[in-house]
């Protein structure tokens, strides 16, 4: 075992350390590089082309080409009847979109950031999520709410909150958190095709990141299943479960842990609701140790839910307490050094994984 570790360390030291995000670990053929932005844009194009009931609605989605350029080119291609610029009135336009979904159209609502979704949260929860249940299946709501979620860079307390735990608490919603371009394409296409309300939480800082995408992913029929997590990196000593940007950090942490002989398994959750409890539990039953990672506030968060579910289902398999890495329990500060302290860094994930492995390091 130690011999292998030393050999790997020799190999590593002779290579330039690349950021984990562009690691070509297990992809067989040469893949095209695609940014998350391009991935989302292409998914929107394809779904709008395939189904005339799909339309976009939100602030600056049309003539401005999207505040973050996700909807670029769509107004030109599909016209102002299907790409609708709204006034800055989230409660109003979200309610209108949900009403259109009641009638059978398929709106894709853009929130400039999910912080503004709070102005419309009554429509997301009470008008959209609960309608199919309250009407005993008569009124289904095939709507997607999408936009950047969580921290960006230096945008301060009112523009940095992660809403994954809030929305994922609500039965009737589906909540997705893509990480890379494959996720962005596959999950957005799945969300638009899904007959239920889907909250699609993107990340502003990931929009410009490039990832390799295979031909399969680029095909217009490509779709990922909702409710299934992905093992981004197989390992056997500790499970690291993360979503969105933290998947990238966790992969970087795994690289560092490998040098210390800790082989981490990194799970990209992809879906917060439904949460893929079986993938998480299967992994923990194999590794016996768990670290959850999220950028969001810690209390009542996704990590807390994962911990509870693992304690309930796989208690006997845990060799150490579950470790939870999350954003600091404070509103997001502006100063760069404080902001850095308020968010998980790769070193935090490494430290937590080592703590989880305190019993044995091979």
């Amino acid at each position: 075992m130690l011999g292998i570790v030393r050999q790997k360390m020799l190999e590593r030291s002779s290579k330039k350390i690349r950021p984990a995000v562009s690691m070509l670990r297990s992809y067989s053929s040469a893949a095209k590089q695609m940014t998350v932005r391009e991935a989302l844009n292409s998914a929107l194009h394809e779904e709008m082309s395939a189904d005339s009931k799909v339309f976009l609605i939100g602030e600056e989605v049309g003539e401005y080409q999207g505040a973050y350029k996700i909807t670029k080119g769509l107004l030109d291609k599909y016209g102002p009847d299907r790409v609708l610029d709204t006034p800055i009135t989230e409660a109003g336009f979200t309610g209108i979109a949900v009403g259109a979904a009641y009638y059978g159209l398929k709106p894709v609502v853009e929130f400039m950031t999910f912080n503004f979704s709070m102005q419309a949260i009554d429509h997301i929860i009470n008008s959209a999520a609960k309608s199919n249940y309250m009407s005993a299946g008569k009124i289904s709501v095939p709507i997607v709410f999408r936009g950047p979620n969580g921290a960006a860079a230096g945008v301060g307390a009112q523009h940095s909150q992660c809403y994954a735990a809030w929305y994922a608490a609500c039965p009737g919603l589906k909540v997705l958190t893509p990480y890379n371009s494959e996720d962005a394409r596959g999950l957005l296409k799945a969300a638009i095709r899904d007959p239920d309300p889907v909250v699609f939480l993107e990340n502003e800082l990931l929009y410009g990141e490039s990832f390799p995408t295979s031909d399969e992913v680029l095909d217009s029929s490509f779709c990922l299943p909702i409710g299934k997590a992905k093992i981004e990196r197989k390992g056997k000593h500790v499970t690291i479960a993360a979503y969105s940007k933290m998947v990238g950090y966790s992969l970087q942490a795994a690289e560092i842990l490998e040098k210390d002989g800790i082989d981490a398994e990194v799970i990209n959750l992809r879906s917060i609701r439904p949460l893929d409890r079986s993938t998480i539990n299967d992994s923990v039953r194999k590794t016996n140790r768990l670290v959850t990672v999220e950028e969001a506030f810690p209390q009542h968060g996704v990590g807390a839910e994962i911990c509870a579910c693992v304690v309930e289902e796989s208690f006997a398999y845990l060799d150490a307490p579950v470790e939870r890495i999350a954003g600091a329990d404070v509103p997001m500060p502006y100063a760069a050094n404080l902001e850095r302290m308020a968010l998980p860094q790769v070193g935090d994930i490494v430290r937590a994984a080592k703590r989880a492995c305190y019993r044995s390091v091979p």
Partner: protein, 395 residues
């Protein structure tokens, strides 16, 4: 099961219960099938804002008046019966009754087709029935039974009838207005040449989301008609305490509006027809229906702490919508007093039969706790209170 037993024992009666209101008339000898036009003047002229008011001369006929009478009697009887059921604890939670406001429901229905959409607040029992819902569906839903229109899972505030384009039934004050504008958006998107009536109360009229939705509807020329059912009290708060400007028909500012006597079914019909034509061509319009509820806000509210009993009795004597139609029918010699009273007796029996049938109806199966959470459950797991005891797979 209980339902089929009852159906087989008295076929014609239960057939009536399952038939929508107005066609039930044709099974018995009607007051009149006469469609000879009759011209009637509305009680008061319309007051207009940013538009020209329609004429107060309304075309109707004996058949329509008979339908109005019967439908409103059913609604009145149904709401009063619901009051008793609530006090007997067979209806739980919230129960908001519409008696007094029936003319808005029937007048509107007369001006619309089933292609037009209606969406309203939690005071939705009569609107549901006007759109074709049956008494059994109403009482079973109120009592939380399987035969309810929402299979017992919605309750009083969540009646829907999608096949008649009735979209509920909403518990959050004012939420239905943007939703209604969204329905109108979808109708325009699909080129359906139909309109949406979004009903709300004087309490909801101050909601910000209403103005947001109206703004967008006006910008995009949506065929949306916003109908303020002004019964002058938002729960216990009188309109003058809640609205700086209680001229709700003017509050649309750039959007035209009409003030209508909501206790006059013919005035309501005329206004709704006018509004439909307007909205299809010119975008949103507001209708303010001046109406009144005899009950309090809900069954928990006696309704007499913030208004006098004299006021309530006064409206009942001067403006009751059913009495108005009765007087019209009698003064035009379309029927006799006895015939109308017979109809009322018949309706009373229909309502009693529906209640009896609903009482026999079973509560939902335990498995229904987990049904319809999603349209597409993806085989996901859901949990009961003790997740080690109760788990389910969502289909």
């Amino acid at each position: 099961m209980a339902l089929s037993h009852l159906a087989s024992s008295s076929p014609s009666r239960s057939a009536n219960l399952l038939k929508p209101l107005s066609s039930a008339i044709s099974l018995r000898r009607p007051i009149s099938t006469d469609t000879t036009p009759i011209t009637v003047e509305t009680s008061v002229p319309f007051t207009a804002h940013q538009c020209e008011a329609p004429s107060r001369t309304v075309q109707t006929n004996a058949k329509e008046l008979a339908t109005f009478f019967r439908d409103m009697v059913v609604m009145r009887r149904m709401e009063i019966a619901a009051d008793s059921l609530y006090k007997a604890k067979l209806i739980r939670g919230f129960c908001h009754l519409y008696d007094g406001q029936e003319a808005v429901a029937v007048g509107m229905e007369a001006a619309l087709t089933k292609k037009d959409c209606i969406i309203t607040s939690y005071r939705d029992h009569c609107t549901f029935v006007a759109r074709g819902g049956t008494l059994l569906e109403v009482f079973a839903e109120l009592m939380g039974r399987q035969a309810g229109c929402s299979k017992g899972k919605g309750g009083s505030m969540h009646f829907y009838k999608k096949d008649s384009n009735f979209y509920g039934g909403h518990g959050i004050v004012g939420a239905q207005v943007p939703l209604g504008c969204g329905l109108a958006f979808a109708q325009k998107y699909c080129k359906d040449e139909a309109v949406t009536f979004a009903l709300y109360g004087d309490g909801a009229a101050n909601q910000g989301q209403l103005f947001e939705a109206l703004n967008i509807s006006a910008l995009w020329d949506l065929p949306a008609i916003l109908v303020c059912e002004n019964n002058h009290y938002g729960m216990g708060t009188a309109e003058w305490r809640a609205a700086k400007s209680p001229a709700y028909y003017k509050r649309g500012d750039y959007a035209p509006g009409l003030k209508v006597d909501g206790m006059d079914a013919l005035a309501v019909k005329q206004a709704c027809a006018f509004a439909k034509e307007h909205a299809l061509k010119n975008g949103p319009i507001i209708l303010e229906m001046d109406t009144y509820r005899y009950h309090g806000h809900s069954m928990s509210d006696p309704g007499s702490t913030y208004r006098t009993r004299d006021e309530i009795t006064g409206v009942r004597q001067e403006r009751d919508p059913i009495e108005r139609i009765r007087k019209l029918i009698l003064s035009h010699d379309l029927s006799t007093d006895k015939e109308l009273k017979d109809i009322e007796k018949e309706v009373r029996k229909e309502v009693d039969d529906a209640i009896a049938q609903a009482k026999e109806n079973p509560v939902p199966e335990p498995s229904e706790l987990f049904s319809d959470v999603y349209a597409k459950g993806l085989g996901v797991e859901s949990f009961g209170a003790d997740r080690k005891e109760v788990r389910a797979t969502l289909a």
